[in-house]
């Protein structure tokens, strides 16, 4: 498989009156063509900022990319001027936002909004755009598309608006689709519809997907690989099976243990992660998770851990994986330390 996207050492900061917020602090990952990857983490962990930097949608000022490279489709995204970037956005990259209520233009019909994308990026005539927008609405499963094209967003329900957003994002056949919490604002039965639609379209159109979410259930369903972020850094990444069945970072383990499962029958206490994420105005010197970690050692508070490979595609940034720390976790679990 060939690489579609390569992000290296990405650092993004926001300058505010209170000081510099280091939202993303050195993120590297890559994505193959047609692959679905999920970025999970709590609010403020930098997952949305990472995605927005790849699309160059970070408002600047106050935001700025301090360091790093983003290679998309063999092009250095950060070196493009705004005009060239416009050509990439929309035609090669599409985005679905969290809130379908506020991300559609209320004063334009849904049809016009889809046609606008097609005419701007697809280089088609108005006639062709009309035909194509009808096909797109059909593709995303909106009943009675000819009538729906002429309607305004307020006449759509929440699930339908999200379908229209997907139609718009996919109108020009992008190679990469960002889905920023695409189902958070929707009800569970509608969420199931949208996930199924995204899975089907990924196969049909061979689009790579970057899914940003905090719902571990949705990730298990949709993604092939998972990136776990905490306080602006990737703490662990690997295939879904690696992350769910063999998590190595205490934060990943904590996340998995803190959600109750529908298919379990015991009512034992949930295992929450105590405390709150660190302040990104002055991120801690060592591992950002050390203050909340059950297994924190002295080194964790002073030195930021490097990535340790568990297998070829599974890496985690945790000192517990260092050879000197072997047995620490077991001893903590047994209550020795």
């Amino acid at each position: 498989m060939s690489k579609l996207l390569e992000v290296k050492d990405l650092e993004v900061s926001f300058d505010t009156y209170a000081g510099e917020v280091k939202a993303v602090r050195g993120v590297s990952f890559d994505l193959n063509k047609g692959e679905a990857i999920a970025i999970v983490g709590e609010s403020g962990c930098g997952k949305s900022v990472t995605a927005q930097s790849i699309m160059r949608l970070i408002p600047s000022p106050p935001g700025r990319v301090k360091n790093g490279t983003i290679i998309f489709n063999d092009v250095d995204i950060l070196a493009l001027n705004e005009r060239q970037m416009q050509a990439v956005r929309g035609s090669d990259m599409g985005m679905i936002f969290q809130d379908p209520m506020t991300s559609l233009n209320p004063t334009m019909t849904v049809g016009r909004q889809i046609q606008e994308v097609l005419m701007k990026h697809g280089g088609v005539t108005k006639k062709q755009a009309e035909v194509r927008s009808l096909e797109m609405l059909q593709l995303v499963g909106i009943p009675n598309p000819a009538m729906r094209l002429k309607q305004y967003p307020h006449e759509y329900s929440g699930g339908m608006r999200q379908r229209a957003m997907i139609a718009m994002a996919l109108a020009c056949g992008p190679k990469l689709l960002f889905a920023d919490e695409p189902t958070t604002a929707l009800d569970v039965t509608i969420q199931a519809q949208i996930i199924d639609l995204m899975k089907e379209l990924q196969k049909k159109l061979d689009t790579a997907i970057i899914l940003i979410t905090h719902d571990l259930g949705v990730v298990a369903d949709l993604a092939e690989r998972v990136i776990v972020m905490y306080a602006g850094k990737i703490v662990e990444y690997g295939s879904v099976n690696d992350i769910y069945y063999n998590p190595k970072h205490p934060y990943t383990m904590g996340l998995l243990k803190s959600v109750p499962r529908l298919d379990s029958h015991n009512k034992e206490e949930l295992m929450p992660i105590d405390g709150t994420p660190p302040d990104l105005f002055s991120p801690p010197k060592g591992c950002a998770f050390a203050a909340r970690c059950d297994y924190a050692m002295k080194v964790c508070h002073y030195c930021d851990p490097d990535y340790f490979a568990i297998n070829s595609g599974h890496k985690a940034a945790c000192w517990l994986l260092h050879e000197y720390a072997s047995g620490v976790k077991e001893n903590v679990l047994r209550g020795v330390i």
């Binding site: 569970v188 509608i190 905090h214 571990l216 259930g217 990730v219 803190s258 029958h265 949930l270």
Partner: protein, 322 residues
């Protein structure tokens, strides 16, 4: 199991309609009957607009029901005089969904928690302050937090303040209206554990409203599934998940993704077509019939009643009543 006990709260044929103009009536809650026992947690689930919040608000007298009665310890809560109403306000409290919007930004946390204490004239003078400190510590905050303002706290901490405020006047019954849906995953578990611990310590009765079915299964003894203003299924939580009967409950359960890739990628879903219909001037008959693949002729004419199909398992569906 539950019928032997005398219920703490008895809701009978509760209806709450809202006038939305032009002779249109929004039937938010339409003929709901259930009871809550002392010390139990009843979970209410359903999609947005199904009336679960309206039921909760009517129970603590924030809304007056259009029809029907609510009995608390045998007393109709809508027939109370002023002093009795104030007394009822002390027994029934609410924890709100949005910890950002439900705390007054101009009051210190100490005053927010102390307001109820002042209104009901409990803990006078020096006791008031020590009571506030005690409550803060009970919900996992520090006494230093009493002088701070809500904006200085994170979402999870604010929800803890909301819980301390509800507990301040020693209520017996608390309506938790989606108390965790605005919080991050790792914080949700903290709040749920806190709520369960407080229930044990103080013998509280909860009505827990949520749309997150896995969390509600974890916390509830019994669960009511609501659809468009009516209860479609009501039973204890393990029974509901192992043996759902109503087609809507089945679809709802199968729609929830399980955080386990192997199970998730192999199981098949019951997908519901379309959206929840509008509760304004609903069509007669069963409210779910338009999305139900088993819909029969009788579903269009008659509203199915909530009937006991096995021990303390209630379902409102014509499929089971035949």
């Amino acid at each position: 199991m539950y019928s032997a006990e005398k219920p703490l709260i008895d809701v009978k044929n509760l209806k709450k309609y809202f006038n939305v103009g032009k002779n249109q009536v929004l039937k938010a809650v339409d003929n709901v009957t259930f009871s809550i026992n002392q010390g139990e947690t009843i979970g209410v689930v359903g999609e947005s607009g199904c009336g679960k919040t309206t039921v909760g608000r009517t129970l603590i007298r924030l809304y007056r029901p259009t029809e029907g009665e609510i009995y608390y310890n045998g007393k109709n809560i809508n027939d109370l005089n002023k002093t009795e109403a104030k007394k009822y306000a002390k027994t029934a409290q609410m924890i709100f969904q949005d910890p950002y919007a439900s705390l007054n930004p101009r009051m210190t946390v100490g005053d927010i928690i102390g307001e109820g204490i002042d209104i009901h004239g409990l803990y006078r003078n020096g006791d008031r302050q020590s009571r506030i400190y005690e409550l803060l510590e009970k919900v996992g905050l520090n006494r230093e937090h009493a002088n701070r303002f809500p904006h200085e706290f994170s979402g999870g901490q604010r929800q803890r303040v909301g819980i301390a405020r509800a507990l301040a006047i020693e209520p017996e019954f608390i309506v938790c209206d989606e108390p965790i849906s605005a919080l991050d995953v790792s914080i949700q578990a903290q709040i749920v554990n806190l709520l369960m611990k407080l229930q044990k310590d103080m013998n509280l009765t909860y009505m827990f409203i949520a749309h997150d079915l896995s969390m509600i299964k974890h916390i509830s003894d019994r669960i009511a599934v609501m659809y468009l203003g009516t209860i479609v299924e009501l039973t204890n939580s393990n029974e509901l998940y192992s043996n759902p009967i109503h087609p809507y409950t089945k679809a709802l359960l199968s729609a929830i993704p399980i955080p386990d890739p192997k199970i998730e990628k192999s199981r098949s879903r019951i997908l519901l077509e379309g959206d929840v219909p509008s509760p304004i001037n609903p069509a007669p008959g069963c409210k779910f019939r338009k999305r139900c693949k088993y819909a029969m002729d009788v579903c269009e004419i008659k509203v199915p009643e909530l009937k006991e199909v096995s021990v303390s398992h209630y379902v409102a569906c014509h499929l089971t009543s035949r």
